[in-house]
């Protein structure tokens, strides 16, 4: 790419939403109509406080034949108005906030939107409402406690957080994970991809009015969560994948559970496809909505199903394979137009491909140990503790003071259901990480929202946001 992509040209301006520059008018009285100024006295004081009546903005319908929104919206290039200058010729606009407490923002995302009638002209995503300082907390936890913390970041795909953290830690430690441990990791993460995409499907359906999808999606997800609970003890935030392997072996009879999942989910997916894939209302609400081009994906760092729906053939499982996923056969679906409907198709196909991987893992699950033999990171077997004092001390030391990790820094990334989930970890050689930074896919996707939403209608904001599938725990960390 030698020349600049179309979204970064033009003059840069502070993206705070400002009133249109109107020379001669006092600040706050911009626009064509003069606002009324009321003097309000506060009881008990002599000081008049000046307040302005709310400007309601343009509420009337547009003249017939003038449909600016639909014309721009069906195009393929959506300019990022958020970075562009303000056009003073524009009509009167009003600013409304969607969120942070709004059922369709999938958490505590706040969208500050500038409306012109029913059309969104500018969008500013405002985040931070769920910030809990997890990166700071990570510096106070040992390497074994780390996954407990990071699993809460992207709470819909906890296994991926743990996997990225563990892979980075193992890179620094230089330990190898046995084949069974690797296969269990792939099994759990790919099942997690299905459960996460089922949540996306449910909320996508609910947000645009297909309420039955919400019920069905959660019903099938329950099957997966039951298996997770059986394996890890918890339905979410499992702390199952740890540096050195996984916390426990698969439970007895896990093959039957996975077999049942592989039997039920494909049938359910046929049902979903029957319900909405060719549904004219669904097509109308999703086709040509929230389009993102490849150039915009690259400029904003958009990855995962959204980038693939735009035609960018990027999947870390193929490009930088991890945990032995290269030995399984699967395809990467790539869309063409990059709209909300393509994202639907890509995610549905990804679920089918994940089931293909799970099927292969089920058939080829190797025997052996599920965690590394390295006694530095793996506690001694339970039986040894009964007969050896040293083993007991060893066990105690690993779980209290933890093990030391050689100094260095490493970036490892996995393909989470949302995109590239990376962990940049710096170790100073001590028992705790010096710095843990999570490269959250949703963080990038939220900041690309203006590029998808500008000049679309209010109703399409909901459809677009649902197709982006942000997890605010991941964004705010």
């Amino acid at each position: 790419m030698s020349d600049t992509p179309n979204i970064v040209t033009g003059d840069f301006e502070a993206p705070t939403i400002e009133p249109p520059p109107d020379s001669g008018a006092a600040p706050g009285t911009a626009g064509k109509q003069r606002r009324e100024v009321h003097d309000v006295w506060i009881a008990g004081t002599e000081e008049p406080r000046v307040a302005q009546s709310t400007n309601e903005g343009a509420q009337e319908l547009l003249p017939a034949g003038q449909e600016p929104a639909a014309a721009v919206q069906r195009g393929t290039v959506v300019d990022d108005d958020y970075l562009f200058g303000y056009d003073s010729e524009q009509e009167e606009r009003q600013i409304i906030n969607m969120g942070p407490q709004h059922p369709s923002t999938h958490g505590v995302l706040r969208l500050q939107m500038e409306l012109e009638g029913e059309t969104i002209r500018r969008v500013k995503p405002i985040i931070g409402y769920l910030h809990t300082g997890m990166e700071k907390t990570a510096e106070t936890l040992t390497w074994l406690q780390g996954p407990t913390n990071v699993t809460r970041m992207d709470y819909l795909s906890p296994f991926f957080n743990e996997l990225a953290f563990s892979m980075a830690a193992e890179d620094l430690l230089g330990v190898d994970i046995p084949a069974r441990g690797q296969a269990i990791r792939i099994l759990m993460t790919e099942l997690n991809r299905i459960s996460s995409h089922l949540i996306w499907l449910s909320t996508q359906g609910m947000d645009i009015g297909a309420l039955s999808l919400m019920l069905y999606g959660w019903r099938e997800r329950e099957l997966l969560l039951a298996f997770f609970e059986k394996t890890t003890g918890l339905r979410m935030n499992h702390n199952y994948i740890r540096p050195g392997g996984v916390a426990a072996d698969l439970p007895d009879g896990w093959e039957d559970d996975v077999e049942e999942i592989l039997e039920v989910i494909p049938k359910a997916m046929e049902e979903y496809d029957e319900l909405i894939a060719a549904n004219p209302i669904f097509l109308d609400r999703t086709q040509g909505i929230g389009v993102l081009t490849i150039e915009e994906c690259k400029a904003y760092g958009v990855t995962g199903p959204i980038a693939r729906a735009s035609g960018m053939a990027v999947d870390l499982r193929k490009i930088f394979p991890y945990s032995g996923i290269e030995q399984y056969e699967f395809d990467v679906p790539v869309g063409k137009t990059g709209d909300t409907y393509d994202r639907y198709l890509v995610r549905m196909e990804e679920m089918r491909q994940s089931m293909r991987i799970v099927r292969q893992v089920l058939e080829t699950m190797p025997a052996g140990d599920y965690r590394t033999e390295d006694r530095k990171v793996t506690p001694p077997p339970r039986k040894r503790i009964d007969e050896s004092m040293e083993a007991l001390i060893h066990h105690f030391k690993i779980f209290t003071s933890g093990f030391k990790v050689p100094a260095g820094d490493v970036y490892r990334a996995v393909e989470s259901p949302r995109g590239e989930l990376g962990m940049y970890i710096v170790s100073s050689g001590g028992p705790r990480p010096w710095r843990v930074h999570a490269r959250a896919p949703s963080f990038n996707h939220v900041q690309a929202l203006p590029a998808m939403m500008t000049d679309s209608l209010v109703a399409d904001i909901i459809a677009t946001l649902a197709s982006v599938d942000p997890v605010l725990g991941d964004v705010d960390r």
Binding site: A299, I319, G335, H437
Partner: protein
């Protein structure tokens, strides 16, 4: 299942290892040559990632050269506080080249006394939020950034919590807008 016309599963084929290495070598040379005049540059490469250390002066120039050399996907930007080391901060930028299948990891030192760095937003708009995050949590100022405000913490928060001299648990919770009634 319906006939999904707009989608075709595409197998991303693995290129031969030697091709990739040759491409990476050429890439390193391109990037290095473009930026060598401006500042000192060290480069290290492994199977996936090309790592480069660069001075502040040649940082944006190197990133622009990298983007022209194919590293056009923005991935990540974060800061690290090394506290007692000079320079105190290190900003780590990761960009990705899809065609060459390589990551470029650029590390640039930022002194603690004057924590400023040029912004990458003219090159990648995706750097916007990440630079705001680094400003919010580490207090590093990115000159040329269109909107360098706090992003994760409230606007009236004091201090930059991911600095190593910002202790855990020693600061009372700040309730925004809370006031006492007499």
């Amino acid at each position: 299942m319906t006939d999904d016309a707009t989608i075709e599963p595409a197998q991303a084929t693995e290129p031969a290892a030697e091709d990739v290495d040759a491409a990476a070598e050429a890439l390193i040379e391109d990037v290095a040559l473009a930026a060598l005049d401006a500042a000192e540059l060290e480069v290290a490469a492994d199977g996936q990632t090309v790592t480069a250390w660069i001075d502040r002066a040649g940082y944006v120039e190197l990133m622009a050269a990298a983007r022209n050399a194919g590293f056009d996907t923005f991935v990540d930007l974060c800061a690290v506080d090394y506290f007692r080391r000079q320079p105190r901060f290190e900003v780590v930028v990761i960009v990705f080249a899809l065609e060459q299948r390589r990551r470029l990891l650029v590390k640039v030192g930022v002194p603690g006394g004057e924590p400023t760095l040029d912004s990458l937003t003219p090159l990648w708009p995706g750097a916007n939020f990440y630079e705001r995050e680094a400003y919010d949590l580490f207090g590093i100022h990115f000159s040329g950034h269109p909107d360098l405000t706090r992003i994760l913490l409230p606007d009236d928060w004091e201090g930059h919590p991911l600095r190593k001299d910002y202790a855990v648990g020693s600061v009372p919770v700040q309730f925004k807008g809370a006031h006492q009634t007499p």
